[in-house]
Each structure stands twice: as C-alpha cells, then as structure tokens.
Amino acid sequence: MIALTTPLTQESVLALKVGDEVSISGIVFTGRDAVHKYLHDGGELPKEVNLRDGIIYHCGPVVLKDENGQWKVTAAGPTTSIREEPYQGDIIKKFGVRAVIGKGGMGDRTLAACEESGCVYLHGVGGAAQVLAECVKRVRNVYFLEKFGSPEAIWELEVEGFPAVVTMDAHGNSLHREVFSASQAALADRL
C-alpha cells in the first residue's frame, strides 16, 4: 500500500503504476456530471476550490446535518467515471489535477491527458459507501449546493487512509484496456 498525501507532487504521481494499491490522505473535492459539464462549458470554480496538484473525486455522497449543524458524510462511494470522458482530459490539463478517483475507468482521451500532464486515475471500490465514508474525517466546505443539488455539489472532504487502486497511470497504461482485450479474446474462444 502506497501512502499518498495532498497536495500531490508530480514525482509521487509519476512513480505510480497500474495495479498499485494506494491509501489517500488529505483533501479531495467531489465533482460529477453537473460540475464537469459546467467547468467544461467555461464555468469558473469558486475561488476557495484549488484543484492544482489536487484530487477530484467522482462521488455523490449522502450528507446529513447533525444536531450541531455540522455536515456529516454517511455514505460516499465512487460513481461511474466514464460519463465524464468528454470533459475530463481538458479539466485535468486546465486545472492541473493530479489524480481522479472514480470507478469503472475512463477512456483514451483521459488516458492521454494523464500522460501529458502527470495525472493518474485511482479506482475506488464501487458500492463500498460505508468503508469509504469512514475515511472521510470532516466536511470542510460545500460549493454549488443550491445550484446542483446535494449529490452533484462540490464537497470539500478531508480524508484519511482512503483505499484505491491505480488503474490508469501517467505512462499510458490502463488496466481497463488490458482486461477488456483479454476478456474479449477469452469470450471469442467460448462462442
């Protein structure tokens, strides 16, 4: 297990390779369909949200307010990333994102952007909302809550020991591409 702490350095990101298990600590910003489309259409980030050397997490958490009025994340697994494929590469390059956490993997454009700008794709365990919510130690802030609704808002989360697997690295390798080709060949033998 490789420990990663935000802000991520270029060096630590370039050292990662497909299949590495990582444990993430620091700040992550959630962002999914509405945020990606908005940023891609030229929308601006709130000034408090700095993605440079940072992490975008494809996640729409369940967040409740406790009796003291504090936000509390009660479920927070990754959502399917491929929907952001039209936008992700440009956003990685424009904002200097160093890692994207999600599930299901992404396509060639994102893979190329990862290689070009030194970024990795980290695969969380889809559906593991409780294990991953336990890794969220604090909600630091929320942006666009009114505009996009709770699952689509940008939540600024402080995480500790968040487990993930590198499935697309900064050197043009993708576990998703490998598994697809191998499984396609295995299926062809069985038809």
Binding site: G60, A76, T80, H123, V131, P151, V179, A186, L187
Partner: protein
C-alpha cells in the same frame, strides 16, 4: 403515522442497509475463491467490510440508493391508491432519515427537490392475488449498474446471434463483456427473452426477486443460466473489472411471449450491492415476517 407507513420505512431501511443473506453468502464464496494477494481479493475484502458496517450503522450499503421499485402482491379490493400515497410518504420520511439519498431529479429542469418523490418515483407494480395477505417487495437499483443494462434485437449480425438459444447466449455474454466492471461487479444478471421493449426490461428486473440459489424450473433456461454464469466467470473480468475469477454471482432468466416480428433479449445488470428485501404484512399493515 400509520402502521403501514412504519412498515414501509422499515422495509426501506433494511433494503438499503442490510444485504440479503443469499447475496452475502455468494460474495463470501467468491472471496474464498479469489487468488490471495490480488487487487481483486482486496476489493472483495472491502466489500465484505462494507456489508458489515452498513448493517451495524443502519446506513446505505451504497450511496446511490437507486431507483425505488416496489412489487406488491395484494388481495382483491385493496385500495391501491391509498397504498401508493403511503409508500410515497414512507419514501419522503426514509429520505429525511438518510436511508435514501436525495436521488430523484426533474429530467427537464435538472432540479432535485430532495424528496425522491416525483413522476415515476417511486415505481409501484401491483399484482392481485386470491389471498388476504399483502406481500411487498422492494428493490433499490443503482444508476451505475442500470447504465450497463442492454437490450438486443435478434438477429444481430455483428454478434452472429440468431433467433435461438445460442443467439441469446451470445448477446447475454456480450452484455457481460461490455459491462466489464462498470456496473460494480461481481454482478447478477436478470434477463428476459421475448416481450416488447418495455415489458422485456420490466420482466428482466423481476428476475431479481428470485434468490441466487434457486434453480430455474424450465430445463433449457436452467442450463442457459448455469452456462452463462460459468462462462462469464472464465473471462477474467473479475470484481470491479480488476481482473479475477468472479465476474458474476448469479444469472436469472425468464421468458415472455413475443410478436413474430420481434425477438428482444433484455439484460438488466445488478451490482454486488444487491438491495432486495420484502415482507408479508398483517391486516393492520404491520410486518408479519420477512421474505428474504
């Protein structure tokens, strides 16, 4: 609040937080089979820990608490409209308690009013039976796995799939290949051979009411279910698509009549976080016993 509303809130809580035992057992078996020290094994261990945590904390197994699908077997004369109103109130209350995420969006405006109640949500399927009891089953189906569902129209030239069981096999396995890990595998397939475009998908989802260990009473469908399960698990897609031995936990196939001109095969994919529960209700709406 009525006893019925209490029962439905409890049904939603259980469905969201507590994985059915048949699914949990299948996950434990796949964890045992997976090669030690692989990322596939790591993923299954996290899944198993997640199942325990969700149950102990009464919190959603997965943050995508899904489409809310009620299947109600009711006696002749039951007021279905009143039941539907109570079910909607139960959904609103369960959302406030965090058993369900604010998960329902107006498709025109993009607005999410935070209640999970709106056109088409929740979905209720009523079926009358000649028995005094009410049986209510609930399936919560997340969007990630819903998005990898697929409907094929046979013949399919590209897949060399004709209008026979071998053609059905080819398209079902194609759906597994295309889904890879995107639907949060290891998954469970619900399939309908036949029907029209709407009923095909509807019947495919009804297959999720069956338990994983049951066997199809129709010989050729049973054979096809076992064959798809075995073949899919030889493809090496594995949990989350990380590579590995378990790609599917189960396959359930039903049939519906079709028109001579149509031959649809509809495949619904359910994620490992298979949320399905049900209860028999007594005359006053209280829970008499659990169905799974």
């Amino acid at each position: 609040m009525t006893a019925l509303q209490d029962s439905l809130i409890e049904l939603i809580r259980r469905t969201s937080a507590d994985i059915p035992d048949d699914v949990h057992q299948a996950i434990l078996k796949s964890l045992e089979n997976e090669k030690k020290g692989t990322i596939a094994e790591s993923a299954l261990k996290i899944i198993d820990r997640n199942i325990a945590l969700a149950k102990n904390k009464s919190q959603p197994l997965c943050q995508d608490t899904g489409s809310i699908l009620f299947y109600v077997d009711c006696p002749v004369g039951m007021d279905q409209m009143a039941f539907e109103e109570t079910a909607k109130d139960a959904v609103r209350a369960a959302t406030k308690k965090g058993f369900l995420r604010q998960n329902s969006v107006d498709s025109l405006t993009g607005e999410n009013d935070g209640t999970n109640v709106g056109p088409g949500s929740p979905a209720l399927h009523f079926h009358q039976h000649r028995s005094p009891e009410i049986k209510v089953r609930l399936v919560l189906k997340g969007g990630g796995c819903e998005n990898v569902g697929a409907q094929y129209s046979l013949p399919n030239e590209k897949l060399k799939a004709g209008r026979d069981l071998d053609g059905c096999r080819k398209v079902i396995l194609d759906a597994v290949l295309q889904a890879q890990g995107k639907g949060c595998g290891p998954g469970i397939l619900g399939v309908c051979i036949g029907g029209d475009r709407a009923t095909g998908y509807e019947y495919s989802k009804k297959q999720f009411l069956r338990t994983l260990g049951d066997r199809n009473p129709v010989g050729e469908l049973d054979e096809l279910e076992q064959d798809i399960l075995k073949t899919a698990n030889e493809l090496g897609i594995g949990p989350m698509g990380f590579g590995g031995k378990t790609t599917l936990l189960g396959v359930k196939i039903g049939v519906a009549n079709r028109l001579p001109a149509s031959f649809f095969v509809s495949v619904s994919y359910m994620c490992w976080a298979f949320r399905r529960q049900g209860a028999v209700l007594n005359g006053s709406g209280g829970i008499e016993k659990w169905l799974y």
